[in-house]
């Protein structure tokens, strides 16, 4: 299995040559490595390499995987067409940007209407969660193609709020 990944903005590739638990893998064109891998809890990987013990914690978030190892934080985008298609925050059709809720909450204000011209960073929808109001902003400029929510609506994380083309 070969997986192309972006880690904290840097691109790379990992090849899994033998599956867990007695895993062999290669990163880029570096030498092959061996790892003994167990998953003691969901999302937790206990990994032994050359007698050293690591624990990686993997979280699935609306913006990709977040992996923590020994206090270091990695944001990892797994570039797989099927996976990307399911992520509401990713680009969908060519030239269309979907704006998704980053957390569950309640829509308190819709700041734009379909057809409005918007700039990158402009607030589109205000979602309230945990007594805080958060403006969901356009990732790029364009025209509002659709608004999928109304004021007062409850949304879940990853739910599409609006599209911009």
């Amino acid at each position: 299995m070969t997986v192309d990944l972006t880690i904290n903005g840097a691109q790379g590739r990992i090849e899994i040559l033998a599956p867990a638990p007695d895993c062999r893998f290669r990163i880029g064109d570096a030498a092959e490595q061996q790892a003994q891998v167990e998953r003691p809890e969901p999302g937790v990987y206990s990994i032994l390499i050359d007698g050293r013990s690591y624990e990686a914690h993997v979280e699935e978030t609306p913006r990709g995987l977040v992996v923590t190892v020994r206090g270091f934080h990695f944001e990892i985008d797994v570039r797989d067409p099927r996976r990307r298609g399911r992520r509401a925050s990713a680009r969908g059709r060519e030239g269309v940007e979907t704006l998704a809720a980053l957390m569950p909450g309640k829509v308190v204000r819709v700041l734009v209407a379909p057809g409005d011209a918007v700039e990158a960073g402009q607030g589109i929808v205000v979602v309230e969660a945990m007594k805080m109001q958060n403006e969901m902003k356009a990732a790029r400029g364009g025209r509002v193609a659709s608004v999928a929510v109304q004021e007062g609506a409850t949304v879940t994380a990853g739910e599409v709020l609006a599209t911009i083309e």
Binding site: L5, N8, G12, I14, I16, A30, A35, V44, V69, M130
Partner: protein, 511 residues
Amino acid sequence: MRNLALLQFSCMVRKVLIANRGEIAVRVMRTLREMGIGAVAVYSDADRTSLHVRMADEAAHIGPAPSSESYLRVDRILDAARRHGVDAIHPGYGFLSENADFAAACGAAGIVFIGPSADSIRSMGSKTAARRIAVTAGVPVVPGTERGVSLEEAHAFGRENGYPILLKAVGGGGGKGMRAVEREAELDSAFRNAASEAERAFGNSQIYIERLITRPRHIEIQVLGDRHGNMVHLGERECSLQRRHQKVIEECPSPLIASHPEMRRAMGEAAIAAARSAGYYNAGTVEFLVDADRRFYFLEMNTRLQVEHPVTELVTGLDLVRLQIEIAGGARLPFRQEDISWQGSAIECRIYAEDPYNNFMPSPGKLTRLTRPLGPGVRLDGCIYDGWTVPVDYDPLLAKLAVWAATREDAIARTQRALGEFDVGGIRTNIEFFRQIVDDEEVRAGRLHTSLIEEFFTRHRQPAPPEELTAVAALAAALHTGANGNGNGAGQRSSSDLSPWLSAGRSDLLR
């Protein structure tokens, strides 16, 4: 010392309703259980499965999720209290805890309010009244005008007291109509802007003035008084580490006071004087700003148990909730000032459901995994459990991680260790943020002030992760993706960069 105390209750407390939820309701319940007192929880629609309901002896539903329809409804809470036949109500912090009408309504219903009198709450609840009380008690306040001033009077204040000064709206708060003025040349335009902003925001263009204290420390004093006129202070908590004016880390001793121990007595006596002149009893906290010359100024008094009370408990060995209940029941303080001593060093971190890598966006949702930090010197107050769904309706405090150790240096190391063990899955938390801030040079050196965290974000560069850890993260991500059936099939190769990851990455990620 405790045994002396024995606390002839003038009215016996057998059952207490906790008019709160989450972390603090659980905290209060633990003491009630140790005292053999029945605990009654209240809950909204959003909290049926919350830990405070599960732990309680009895529980009463008080309405829908919005707190205005449940935890802030005096009528529903008193109704629940009557139905369950409680003797007393503990308000916790937040919600109705500093609502004088609620305290008065409890009294009128024949139920003991575990806290100060309604009059004390009322007078300390008003900024101007509290300031007058402090001045009357001889406690220093930030030099300022007591009322709105004209531009000419503002110039006179600046000449007399020096710059920088702070213009503030008489009619409101929240930063509206507020301007910092560094020198006299800026005063005219700042004054006009502040006044017109205040007029728009509050319909009142009046501006008053305070001297601006730059990079102050926030140090507060815990006081405790009984209803027989006895009052002591239990030392300080330094809460200078704040983000958006919210405390995130608190500690005792304050590093400043540790090197200037005479300040504890001076501030403690000032706090007692202020509290006494408001006729205060039960637990309360007097907050001070401390300037670079170690002068302290009364800021306000919180007439309730504070979120950060565990650090005081850890260094004094006292249970503040227990003392609150005993005092409310009519008991005398079981000790005098000279009986109070402080051992070691305690630090508390407020663990929130928020994403430090995404502008601290709230992160409610279901906890899919939980490992609590344990071991020597670790205390965790919280309401979390594996499988709990954090509601979107309330503030995002999940838990308070407090540690105790013999010295501040050891307490910092212990905090780091405990944060490393603390694993919450399914939602994002600020645990990783704490690991970095606690490791900061300025924090370690104890050079704290209220802008430290803001400055930390601008000067801090996250160290690049070692290559070996990047490889481990990549392996875990690949296996996780594969395990969930989303992996690429073998042989699907792209022509993209084949080099191993650069560890450079996004060094400014934590913002």
